[in-house]
């Protein structure tokens, strides 16, 4: 039993590792009821478990309105900058270059979020050209939704954009999302050094996460929860009980993502 599992069993927040949630949202979502979707409630849950920081894109931004939603993300980060960093959501149908220009230099944002499935637009599409150019120029990581078999963000699309943009850090959200998707995500990440696997979703397990780390290394796998879309504790528990060595676990839980968020400090 390590310090984190001991904290779980004793029902107290963990304090031994800096945990950074690499895949989070905020706010309500029309498809289903979320009891407490506000950023304030999210911070309360983070405190309950000992999660230091979360990288968020508002549900408004990914679901309906990138401009209004990015403003909501910025506001949430501005109210709790020590707890949140923003993902700038780029919707290919809603002035993608304008959103990049509007928020690209804003330090409240530390990454770009793409959700091809929600926007019915392929990850390889030309409307995302500005995203890849911005990410290549700045080092800003790009989190994309992935789902095995999707017409828009299957692992083949991740492979294609990673091949075309080898200098860009691409975080594959959900790591393919299904057992077959996990296998294919590992294969893509082995071919493309810029690809990082993020592990939230409904079907991942601790053994699958441990295998990703064995195959790729702890600097290529990051913890995310998708909260408040999904409860934060579901994915967090998988990583905590995955059996990873403590240094590897610390990397997956937060150290690797912390490093990926440092890109602005390298800019003149």
């Amino acid at each position: 039993m390590n310090a984190i599992t001991s904290a779980v069993w004793s029902r107290r927040p963990q304090t031994s590792v800096r945990i950074v949630d690499a895949h989070a949202h905020a706010g309500p979502y029309s498809l289903f009821f979320i009891p407490e979707a506000s950023p304030d409630a999210m911070v309360r849950v983070m405190d309950r478990c000992g999660v230091a920081h979360a990288v968020i894109s508002s549900h408004l931004a990914i679901q309906l309105d990138a401009a209004a939603g990015n403003a909501a993300t910025a506001e949430a980060v501005g109210r709790a900058p020590d707890r949140f960093t923003g993902y700038l959501t780029v919707n290919p149908w809603q002035d993608p270059d304008g959103e990049l220009a509007r928020w690209g230099d804003d330090p409240r944002f530390g990454g770009i979020k793409l959700h091809p499935d929600l926007h019915d637009y392929p990850l390889t599409g030309r409307r995302y050209a500005g995203v890849w150019e911005f990410a290549r120029r700045t080092g800003c990581p790009v989190l994309t939704h992935t789902y095995d078999g999707s017409p828009y963000n299957d692992l083949d699309e991740v492979d294609a954009v990673a091949a075309e943009h080898p200098d860009v850090v691409i975080i594959a959200g959900h790591a393919g999302a299904t057992p077959l998707g996990f296998d294919r995500a590992v294969e893509v990440a082995q071919r493309r050094p810029g690809v990082i696997l993020e592990v939230c979703g409904s079907f991942n397990t601790g053994p699958d996460i441990a295998r990703m780390v064995r195959e790729l290394g702890p600097d290529r796998v990051v913890y995310g929860s998708d909260f408040p879309f999904i409860d934060l504790r579901i994915s967090l528990g998988r990583v905590i009980f995955s059996g990873l060595a403590e240094t590897d676990q610390a990397a997956v839980l937060g150290a690797t993502m912390t490093r990926l968020l440092q890109w602005r400090s390298g800019q003149g």
Partner: protein, 245 residues
């Protein structure tokens, strides 16, 4: 104490979940501090309920930490005997719950085909376990209303079904929710606040699901220790047939 009301033995054809052996199940329970588990067998789910039910009893014989859970069918084709025969054999074998797969096994749980079997389960005090994807909420509500003495535990809620689950919980007193993949953000606390810990049953969904999910969700819940204890084992123990506790 944790009692897992949603566990499975046996292999799975579409996922690497190990061999599904007793040894693996007990090792997993030890790793997650789970004292006992209510177990079904994939042979009953994914091949032949009658054979799987019989073999499950042989497998768990002499294993007091594993409580057998049979899989039911409608008695229309006589595959598992009459409802009276099925229930009598279940109780004689120490079966403590019965699981249904109406979607996978091709029948209507709420229709006339299952009415006599469900009535027999209710009379015997055997709870019915069914995943949300197998039945759907209108079916769950119909079954609960038609058989008010039947305790129903709906598992595999996921994070998209609180609107439907809440309606059924509000209109019934004999429907409970399993914790396996009950993954709405803050949903557990919301449900306990509205309906009480007595409507929630700990379960992991292992080995298809990682027990780490349910264990972490429960222990790090924003609930007091009494509610956690109730969900961990108390609620389930209150649902089991007399003599099984």
């Amino acid at each position: 104490m944790l009692i897992d009301a949603d566990a499975m033995l046996g292999r799975h054809p579409r996922r690497d979940t190990g061999t599904g052996s007793i040894t693996e199940a007990l090792d997993r329970m030890d790793r997650f501090g789970i004292a006992e588990a209510v177990v079904s067998h994939t042979l009953s789910w994914l091949h032949d309920p009658a054979t799987g039910n019989r073999e499950l009893l042989d497998l768990v014989a002499g294993r007091p930490r594993l409580r057998p859970c049979w899989v039911m069918l409608p008695d229309t084709c006589g595959e598992t005997g009459t409802p009276a025969e099925f229930v009598a054999a279940a109780l004689a074998g120490g079966v403590c719950a019965v699981r249904a797969y109406p979607a996978d096994h091709g029948y209507d749980l709420a229709g006339g085909d299952c009415a006599s079997m469900l009535a027999a389960l209710a009379d015997a005090g055997l709870p019915l376990l069914v995943d949300a994807a197998q039945a759907g909420w209108p079916t769950v509500e119909s079954v609960a209303a038609a058989h008010p003495g039947l305790r129903v535990v709906v598992g595999g809620i996921g994070y998209r079904q609180l609107r439907q689950a809440a309606g059924v919980l509000s209109r019934t007193g004999n429907v409970h929710l399993g914790l396996a993949n009950l993954s709405s953000h803050c949903g557990l606390e919301w449900l306990v606040d509205r309906y009480g810990a007595g409507r929630i049953v700990f379960g992991t969904g292992a080995p298809l699901r990682d027990p780490a999910e349910a264990v972490t969700r429960l222990l790090w819940a924003e609930l007091d220790d009494a509610d956690v204890a109730a969900i961990g084992s108390g609620t389930l123990l209150g649902l089991l047939p007399v003599g099984a506790v």
